[in-house]
Symmetry: C2
Subunit: 122 residues, 2 copies
Amino acid sequence: MYEKKIPKDFSCGFTVLMEIIGGKWKPYLLFLISNGVRRPSDLHRKVPTATRRVLNLQLKELEFHGIIGKKIYAELPPHVEYYLTDFGESLLPVINAMDAWGGGYKHQFEQLMLRKQVPGEA
Amino acid sequence: MYEKKIPKDFSCGFTVLMEIIGGKWKPYLLFLISNGVRRPSDLHRKVPTATRRVLNLQLKELEFHGIIGKKIYAELPPHVEYYLTDFGESLLPVINAMDAWGGGYKHQFEQLMLRKQVPGEA
DNA sequence: TCAGATAGGGATAATTTTATCCCTGTAAAT
DNA sequence: ATTTACAGGGATAAAATTATCCCTATCTGA
């Protein structure tokens, strides 16, 4: 993936969690997969903003940690499907809690961000 | 802080949460502050790995979002104390849930990371 | 008077994460 | 025969985040 020069301290559970779901597209990919979007091309259609390349990288990391699994069908043209593992399922409540908290703050958050963008205005 | 070039989509609660606590030292700072470590210099002593500069930046962002507050005592030498706001308190359960999940996976995680480091070994 | 503690921040470098570009291969359809 | 859909990845650039270095100011104590 990428050889880190500054070692992280994984004695903290929080840091461990972040290592696993802390990629730009990972939480969204998990959401999609848990909602039945399984094939790489379908996932890409749902997240056209990201490149296939980038999605592949994030999927590979999720797979590395056993959050998702990958079924490769011996067909041509290629056919691949991702699925949430039981371990991955155990993550959903946590992600939902995070999303819920953030959702509650969203409105106020947007107000704040607006002020940041427009300090004096031209 | 830093003028971003690629706009983020904050319509998602998860993204909002990440914007708030997604800094390298922020969760740990929150933990410390919620446990009574209030003054900048004390926080730095607890996190000597980070520079005062960096801690200040992260603290400023937490303050910006109303997670923590700052009391400036009109004394010399300067005296500053941070505290968790009520809003910040509401974040603790979420952070705890995250930490708990990661803590449960920690052991297995360490095993995985070891293999990553030592593919074939010299 | 000089070191050390308090708190803060500008300028810039290093690190880490994402994005972009382009290439491989096969089968079905036009 | 050329295009399209499928899946995957190397090389490299850009963006974002952290880290490093150094300077300001005031008061206390040696």
